[in-house]
């Protein structure tokens, strides 16, 4: 306990340094803006802005990127409540009751509860992150290559299975990402694979052009397909603070959704969107008046908003302690850590304690900033909705191009970005999730190295993967995860036949 408080004290010294305060503020501000703007999500923004961080101190850069991530969870609720359009996917459930509250003239308390609920849950999530991190790091320090291989495989399988509309599509995308990760020199022998005589491919496919293509360029193409006409929003919002009755109604909602959101966020692959959906459904089930959900009840706003913020803190747990991201957004953050020359995982807590604890402390500070930003500036966020999409899209592409070129000064990366933009657009159009591709691309070389190192240690004996309980349990979870859909399908089929 005293160890945690001592580390947190050090973290606050880092987070409260003027430069880091500024980057935290920029992060949460940008996060709120992109959360408000429909059509551009946190993962897209992180990918586009990543090149801007290369000249920066990694601690400041990570504080800013994390601020964008959790800031976007705050901003996403604004459009959900005011125009029934979620600013990003984690705010989908907020539309149901938030928009109905707005139609009844209670947009102010809905926005207020979204911001205050997000603050409470975000802070609770950071406290949980702080206390859970140390035991996990201790456990992870005992991991060998076999454990890491099993853990990465599990992360890929769960992410692949949870984010898409079908397990097969998600797994296909994860495997495709891993396959892309094998392009370039073999990490152990140096033999060239899939390079087709192109020198730029010898070091492997760069993560950033692929991520920017799959997220940003594909998103622009998808938005361009839908419509570039924009809806001008005009309204007056008064009375942002929820009433005493609102708080009373949410007295159990906020702790319940915070805890649920955090736990879901920690799980690989689940993420804040699933957290908000589960929290809404749990709240409806626990409610004495479930039939009123969807008609504008305050708990229907508080639950998903609290859950998605707690989940963004929970998602930091596997990223920081194990070096294994659980979502597209944290995968981009992992890529960032690696691009800055850091080695994510348990050793990060020992070798870069100032970075990790500075980040954790900055999340407290950022949550306070977000509360201050969100309530008084709500009118400004509403005005942002008037930025025409046709102006926004060229800006996103211009920044994507410049950012990609800035990293390597290689035009080949621009072609890679455009090609993956087209691939990402087609995949999204036909319901294939793209986040597992990025996760696979990042984890691929590490997964292969761990697999082969484990087998070198065991002199080719595959039983190394079942000799230690942790590895056996993780791989059993992978097998159960892969077999479950097939068993369920066979069971339903037998049920129909009988």
């Amino acid at each position: 306990m005293s160890d945690v408080l001592q580390n947190l004290g050090m973290g606050f010294t880092v987070a409260l340094a003027p430069a880091n305060l500024l980057y935290c503020f920029v992060g949460v501000l940008v996060g709120t803006v992109i959360g408000v703007l429909p059509g551009i999500g946190p993962v897209t923004t992180l990918a586009i802005l990543l090149p801007l961080t290369f000249g920066m101190n990694p601690t400041s850069a990570l504080i800013m990127l994390a601020g964008i991530y959790y800031g976007s969870q705050y901003g996403g609720s604004t459009t959900a409540i005011l125009i029934n359009t979620p600013g990003e996917s984690a705010s989908v459930m907020t539309c149901l009751d938030g928009y109905q509250m707005a139609r009844k003239g209670r947009a102010g308390p809905a926005l207020g509860m979204a911001a205050l609920g997000s603050f409470i849950a975000g802070t609770a999530g950071v406290v949980l992150l702080m206390f859970l991190a140390r035991p996990l790091v201790t456990l992870a320090l005992s991991f060998g290559p076999a454990e890491y291989f099993a853990l990465m495989l599990l992360a890929l399988c769960t992410l692949g299975g949870l984010v898409g509309e079908s397990v097969a599509k998600g797994l296909l995308m994860g495997a495709f990402g891993l396959l892309l990760g094998t392009i370039g020199s073999d990490p152990l022998t140096g033999a060239a694979r899939f390079t087709f005589g192109i020198p730029s491919l010898l070091d492997g496919l760069e993560f950033l052009p692929v991520a920017i293509g799959l997220f940003a360029v594909a998103e622009v193409l998808t938005t361009a397909e839908r419509s570039v006409a924009h809806q001008v929003y005009e309204t007056r919002i008064t009375g942002l603070l929820p009433t005493r009755e609102d708080w009373w109604a949410c007295r159990f909602t906020l702790p319940r959704a915070s805890l649920l959101g955090f736990v879901v966020g920690v799980l690989p692959g689940a993420g804040s969107t699933l957290a908000s959906i589960l929290a809404y459904l749990a709240e409806k089930r626990a409610s004495r008046y479930p039939e009123r959900f969807g008609t504008g009840v305050i708990e229907g706003v508080a639950a998903p908003e609290a859950a998605n913020n707690a989940a963004s803190a929970g998602a930091m747990v596997p990223l920081l302690t194990l070096g294994v991201p659980g979502s597209g957004t944290t995968a981009v953050m992992l890529g960032a850590l690696m691009l800055w020359g850091l080695r994510p995982g348990p050793l990060l807590f020992e070798k870069n304690a100032d970075l990790v604890w500075g980040l954790i402390a900055s999340m407290y500070v950022g949550n306070v900033m977000l509360l201050i930003l969100n309530l008084p500036l709500i009118g400004l966020w509403v005005r942002l909705l008037q930025v025409p999409t046709r102006v926004l899209l060229p800006f996103i592409l211009l920044f994507s191009f410049t950012g990609t070129y800035a990293v390597s000064a290689n035009v080949f990366d621009l072609y890679v970005m455009v090609a993956f933009g087209v691939v990402g657009y087609l995949l999204q159009r036909y319901g294939f999730p793209v986040a597992p591709i990025v996760l696979g691309l990042i984890l691929g070389p590490m997964l292969e190295t761990h697999l082969r190192r484990a087998l070198i240690i065991s002199r080719g004996d595959w039983s190394i993967f079942v000799q230690r309980p942790i590895t056996a349990v993780l791989l059993a979870a992978v097998l159960v995860y892969l077999a479950l859909p097939v068993v369920l399908w066979a069971w339903r089929r037998a049920g129909r036949g009988g």
Binding site: A168, L179, L398
Partner: protein, 150 residues
Amino acid sequence: MKLDGERVMGVAAVLVGLGAVSESLRLAEDTLTGGPGTRFLPVSLGLIVAVLGGAIALRPAPRRPREAPASPGARLRIAATLAGLALYALVFERLGFLISSAAFVALLLVFYGERRWPLVLAVAAGAAGATYAVFARWLGVPLPPGILGP
């Protein structure tokens, strides 16, 4: 069995997977390391991609509502965006960052329906200038000067 977009993607995955297997089999299997060698993972992943792609291509019935075909306007916008991206990548270094970027933004604004020419020019020049200021001046990234260079 009707060929829809989802099945076409499944077939594409089969081709990618089999292509990866065939390309990987050309590699020498280096077993110096005691465990699986260079081609083990690419071959395994190629097979997994091909099998999963095949499962999607041959699934009994589509699980999702068929995607609505893109309207002619939407198709035009996508084609224009792609053409703009390809052109931008081609001329990026030759014309230089400022000229190619301003032209790219202006082109897209017009394609997306903006017809107020002073606004198009102002936004295009402003966007290129601001991005140049951030990357080249603030971050010190060497952006290509192109025909404006020495």
